[in-house]
Amino acid sequence: MATPLARARGLGSAHKGTETFLRQRVTAVANIPLVIFLVLAIVTHLGASYDEMRSFLAKPVVAIALLALIISAAIHMRIGLKEIIEDYVHGESARVAAILLVTFYAVGIGLACTLAIVKISLGS
Protein backbone atom coordinates (compact mmCIF):
# COMPACT_ATOMS: atom_id res chain seq x y z
CA MET A 1 0.00 0.00 0.00
CA ALA A 2 2.65 2.57 1.06
CA THR A 3 5.45 3.67 -1.24
CA PRO A 4 9.00 3.01 0.02
CA LEU A 5 9.45 6.76 0.65
CA ALA A 6 6.23 6.94 2.71
CA ARG A 7 7.36 3.88 4.69
CA ALA A 8 10.72 5.50 5.41
CA ARG A 9 9.09 8.74 6.51
CA GLY A 10 6.78 6.80 8.79
CA LEU A 11 4.18 9.55 8.93
CA GLY A 12 1.14 7.39 8.17
CA SER A 13 -2.09 8.45 6.49
CA ALA A 14 -2.56 11.60 8.56
CA HIS A 15 1.02 12.75 7.77
CA LYS A 16 1.63 13.50 11.43
CA GLY A 17 3.15 10.19 12.50
CA THR A 18 3.20 9.71 16.26
CA GLU A 19 3.09 13.45 17.01
CA THR A 20 -0.27 13.40 18.83
CA PHE A 21 0.59 10.20 20.71
CA LEU A 22 3.87 11.72 21.92
CA ARG A 23 2.28 15.07 22.76
CA GLN A 24 -0.27 13.27 24.97
CA ARG A 25 2.61 11.52 26.81
CA VAL A 26 4.73 14.64 27.19
CA THR A 27 1.79 16.62 28.65
CA ALA A 28 0.88 13.60 30.84
CA VAL A 29 4.36 13.54 32.37
CA ALA A 30 4.27 17.33 32.87
CA ASN A 31 0.82 17.14 34.47
CA ILE A 32 1.96 14.77 37.25
CA PRO A 33 4.11 17.21 39.28
CA LEU A 34 1.98 20.21 38.25
CA VAL A 35 -1.32 18.70 39.44
CA ILE A 36 0.33 17.58 42.70
CA PHE A 37 1.56 21.18 43.12
CA LEU A 38 -1.93 22.60 42.45
CA VAL A 39 -3.66 20.22 44.86
CA LEU A 40 -1.11 20.86 47.64
CA ALA A 41 -1.25 24.62 47.02
CA ILE A 42 -5.04 24.59 47.42
CA VAL A 43 -5.08 22.34 50.47
CA THR A 44 -2.42 24.36 52.32
CA HIS A 45 -4.36 27.59 51.65
CA LEU A 46 -7.79 26.48 52.79
CA GLY A 47 -9.34 29.25 54.84
CA ALA A 48 -6.78 31.80 53.63
CA SER A 49 -8.02 35.37 53.21
CA TYR A 50 -8.48 36.93 49.78
CA ASP A 51 -5.28 38.95 50.09
CA GLU A 52 -3.23 35.97 51.28
CA MET A 53 -4.54 33.83 48.41
CA ARG A 54 -3.88 36.55 45.87
CA SER A 55 -0.34 37.29 47.01
CA PHE A 56 0.45 33.56 47.03
CA LEU A 57 -0.78 33.19 43.43
CA ALA A 58 1.18 36.31 42.43
CA LYS A 59 4.53 34.72 43.40
CA PRO A 60 6.45 34.14 40.14
CA VAL A 61 7.21 30.46 40.87
CA VAL A 62 3.56 29.76 41.68
CA ALA A 63 2.30 31.68 38.64
CA ILE A 64 4.76 29.87 36.32
CA ALA A 65 3.74 26.46 37.68
CA LEU A 66 0.04 27.30 37.26
CA LEU A 67 0.55 28.64 33.73
CA ALA A 68 2.50 25.50 32.83
CA LEU A 69 -0.31 23.35 34.25
CA ILE A 70 -3.01 25.25 32.38
CA ILE A 71 -1.23 25.04 29.02
CA SER A 72 -0.25 21.39 29.47
CA ALA A 73 -3.71 20.39 30.74
CA ALA A 74 -5.53 22.25 27.96
CA ILE A 75 -3.49 20.45 25.29
CA HIS A 76 -3.91 17.10 27.09
CA MET A 77 -7.69 17.50 27.50
CA ARG A 78 -8.16 18.53 23.88
CA ILE A 79 -6.34 15.42 22.60
CA GLY A 80 -8.15 13.13 25.06
CA LEU A 81 -11.63 14.49 24.41
CA LYS A 82 -11.05 14.42 20.64
CA GLU A 83 -9.99 10.76 20.87
CA ILE A 84 -13.14 9.82 22.78
CA ILE A 85 -15.31 11.63 20.22
CA GLU A 86 -13.54 9.91 17.33
CA ASP A 87 -14.28 6.55 18.97
CA TYR A 88 -17.95 7.06 19.83
CA VAL A 89 -19.46 9.76 17.59
CA HIS A 90 -19.95 8.22 14.18
CA GLY A 91 -21.92 10.74 12.14
CA GLU A 92 -19.52 12.95 10.17
CA SER A 93 -21.17 16.30 10.93
CA ALA A 94 -21.85 15.45 14.58
CA ARG A 95 -18.22 14.35 14.97
CA VAL A 96 -16.83 17.52 13.41
CA ALA A 97 -19.17 19.67 15.52
CA ALA A 98 -18.22 17.83 18.73
CA ILE A 99 -14.49 18.12 18.01
CA LEU A 100 -14.90 21.84 17.30
CA LEU A 101 -16.77 22.23 20.57
CA VAL A 102 -14.12 20.50 22.72
CA THR A 103 -11.37 22.43 20.92
CA PHE A 104 -13.08 25.73 21.75
CA TYR A 105 -13.68 24.48 25.30
CA ALA A 106 -10.00 23.62 25.86
CA VAL A 107 -8.85 26.92 24.34
CA GLY A 108 -11.44 28.82 26.41
CA ILE A 109 -10.33 27.18 29.68
CA GLY A 110 -6.70 27.84 28.76
CA LEU A 111 -7.30 31.50 27.93
CA ALA A 112 -9.51 32.22 30.97
CA CYS A 113 -7.02 30.70 33.42
CA THR A 114 -4.03 32.33 31.70
CA LEU A 115 -5.62 35.77 31.74
CA ALA A 116 -6.59 35.36 35.41
CA ILE A 117 -3.08 34.28 36.45
CA VAL A 118 -1.42 37.06 34.45
CA LYS A 119 -3.81 39.64 35.92
CA ILE A 120 -3.19 38.38 39.47
CA SER A 121 0.59 38.37 38.83
CA LEU A 122 0.68 41.91 37.51
CA GLY A 123 -1.54 43.01 40.38
CA SER A 124 -4.05 45.06 38.43
Binding site: Y50, M77, Y105, I109, A112, C113
Partner: protein, 135 residues
Protein backbone atom coordinates in the same frame (compact mmCIF):
# COMPACT_ATOMS: atom_id res chain seq x y z
CA UNK B 1 -18.00 6.62 7.36
CA UNK B 2 -19.08 5.79 3.81
CA UNK B 3 -22.41 4.35 2.80
CA UNK B 4 -21.20 2.01 0.05
CA UNK B 5 -22.56 -1.50 -0.33
CA UNK B 6 -19.17 -3.07 0.39
CA UNK B 7 -18.78 -1.27 3.70
CA UNK B 8 -22.31 -2.13 4.78
CA UNK B 9 -21.60 -5.85 4.37
CA UNK B 10 -18.36 -5.87 6.29
CA UNK B 11 -18.44 -7.90 9.48
CA UNK B 12 -18.17 -5.73 12.59
CA UNK B 13 -15.94 -6.63 15.50
CA UNK B 14 -17.94 -7.38 18.67
CA UNK B 15 -18.72 -4.26 20.67
CA UNK B 16 -18.42 -3.71 24.42
CA UNK B 17 -21.72 -5.27 25.45
CA UNK B 18 -20.70 -8.63 23.94
CA UNK B 19 -17.94 -9.16 26.48
CA UNK B 20 -18.25 -10.22 30.10
CA UNK B 21 -17.25 -7.14 32.12
CA UNK B 22 -13.71 -7.44 33.44
CA UNK B 23 -11.84 -5.27 35.90
CA UNK B 24 -9.18 -4.12 33.46
CA UNK B 25 -11.84 -3.21 30.90
CA UNK B 26 -13.78 -1.24 33.52
CA UNK B 27 -10.56 0.58 34.45
CA UNK B 28 -10.02 1.53 30.83
CA UNK B 29 -13.51 3.04 30.76
CA UNK B 30 -12.92 4.66 34.16
CA UNK B 31 -9.78 6.30 32.79
CA UNK B 32 -11.83 7.94 30.04
CA UNK B 33 -14.65 8.94 32.39
CA UNK B 34 -12.20 10.46 34.88
CA UNK B 35 -10.51 12.27 31.99
CA UNK B 36 -13.82 13.84 30.93
CA UNK B 37 -14.55 14.65 34.60
CA UNK B 38 -11.19 16.42 34.85
CA UNK B 39 -11.95 18.47 31.74
CA UNK B 40 -15.22 19.59 33.37
CA UNK B 41 -13.42 20.10 36.69
CA UNK B 42 -11.03 22.57 35.08
CA UNK B 43 -14.06 24.81 34.62
CA UNK B 44 -14.15 25.03 38.44
CA UNK B 45 -10.45 25.96 38.48
CA UNK B 46 -11.01 28.59 35.77
CA UNK B 47 -14.01 29.99 37.66
CA UNK B 48 -12.00 30.18 40.89
CA UNK B 49 -8.96 31.86 39.24
CA UNK B 50 -11.11 34.35 37.32
CA UNK B 51 -12.97 35.16 40.56
CA UNK B 52 -9.67 35.91 42.34
CA UNK B 53 -8.61 38.10 39.42
CA UNK B 54 -11.99 39.89 39.48
CA UNK B 55 -11.84 41.06 43.09
CA UNK B 56 -12.81 40.28 46.69
CA UNK B 57 -16.62 40.44 46.17
CA UNK B 58 -16.66 37.91 43.31
CA UNK B 59 -14.19 35.73 45.19
CA UNK B 60 -16.42 35.74 48.29
CA UNK B 61 -19.38 34.50 46.22
CA UNK B 62 -17.32 31.70 44.64
CA UNK B 63 -15.80 30.75 48.01
CA UNK B 64 -19.29 30.47 49.52
CA UNK B 65 -20.26 28.05 46.76
CA UNK B 66 -17.14 25.92 47.26
CA UNK B 67 -17.78 25.82 51.02
CA UNK B 68 -21.37 24.61 50.51
CA UNK B 69 -22.29 20.91 50.48
CA UNK B 70 -22.83 20.71 46.67
CA UNK B 71 -19.63 22.72 46.13
CA UNK B 72 -17.62 20.43 48.38
CA UNK B 73 -19.15 17.35 46.76
CA UNK B 74 -18.09 18.64 43.33
CA UNK B 75 -14.57 19.38 44.59
CA UNK B 76 -14.37 15.94 46.20
CA UNK B 77 -15.36 14.23 42.94
CA UNK B 78 -12.96 16.45 40.96
CA UNK B 79 -10.06 15.62 43.30
CA UNK B 80 -10.87 11.90 43.08
CA UNK B 81 -11.07 12.08 39.27
CA UNK B 82 -7.71 13.93 39.15
CA UNK B 83 -5.97 11.38 41.38
CA UNK B 84 -7.63 8.40 39.65
CA UNK B 85 -6.66 9.70 36.21
CA UNK B 86 -3.12 10.43 37.39
CA UNK B 87 -2.58 6.93 38.81
CA UNK B 88 -4.22 5.41 35.72
CA UNK B 89 -1.99 7.60 33.57
CA UNK B 90 1.18 6.52 35.39
CA UNK B 91 0.04 2.93 34.67
CA UNK B 92 -0.20 3.83 30.98
CA UNK B 93 3.25 5.46 31.02
CA UNK B 94 4.71 2.25 32.53
CA UNK B 95 2.99 0.21 29.82
CA UNK B 96 4.52 2.53 27.19
CA UNK B 97 7.95 1.33 28.26
CA UNK B 98 6.87 -2.25 27.55
CA UNK B 99 6.76 -3.36 31.20
CA UNK B 100 3.80 -4.56 33.22
CA UNK B 101 1.74 -5.97 30.39
CA UNK B 102 1.44 -9.52 31.79
CA UNK B 103 -1.86 -10.74 33.27
CA UNK B 104 -0.77 -10.48 36.90
CA UNK B 105 0.63 -6.95 36.53
CA UNK B 106 -2.45 -5.52 34.82
CA UNK B 107 -4.65 -6.87 37.64
CA UNK B 108 -2.29 -5.45 40.27
CA UNK B 109 -2.19 -2.08 38.46
CA UNK B 110 -5.98 -2.01 38.25
CA UNK B 111 -6.45 -2.63 41.98
CA UNK B 112 -3.60 -0.23 42.84
CA UNK B 113 -5.36 2.51 40.84
CA UNK B 114 -8.74 1.94 42.53
CA UNK B 115 -7.49 1.52 46.10
CA UNK B 116 -4.72 4.09 45.72
CA UNK B 117 -7.02 6.77 44.31
CA UNK B 118 -9.61 6.29 47.07
CA UNK B 119 -6.98 6.26 49.83
CA UNK B 120 -5.14 9.33 48.50
CA UNK B 121 -8.38 11.29 47.99
CA UNK B 122 -9.64 10.54 51.51
CA UNK B 123 -6.18 11.34 52.92
CA UNK B 124 -6.15 14.63 51.04
CA UNK B 125 -9.54 15.67 52.42
CA UNK B 126 -8.69 14.57 55.97
CA UNK B 127 -5.49 16.66 55.71
CA UNK B 128 -7.51 19.57 54.31
CA UNK B 129 -10.09 19.52 57.13
CA UNK B 130 -7.31 19.04 59.68
CA UNK B 131 -5.45 22.09 58.31
CA UNK B 132 -8.68 24.10 58.51
CA UNK B 133 -8.85 23.12 62.19
CA UNK B 134 -11.90 20.88 61.95
CA UNK B 135 -10.31 18.43 64.39
Amino acid sequence: MGHGKLEAERPLSPHLQIYRPMLTMMMSIAHRISGVANAVGFLLLAWWLVAIASGPETYATVSRFFASIPGRALLFLFSWALIHHMLGGIRHLIWDTGYGLDKTSIEVFAWATIIGSILLTVLLWVAGFWLMGAF
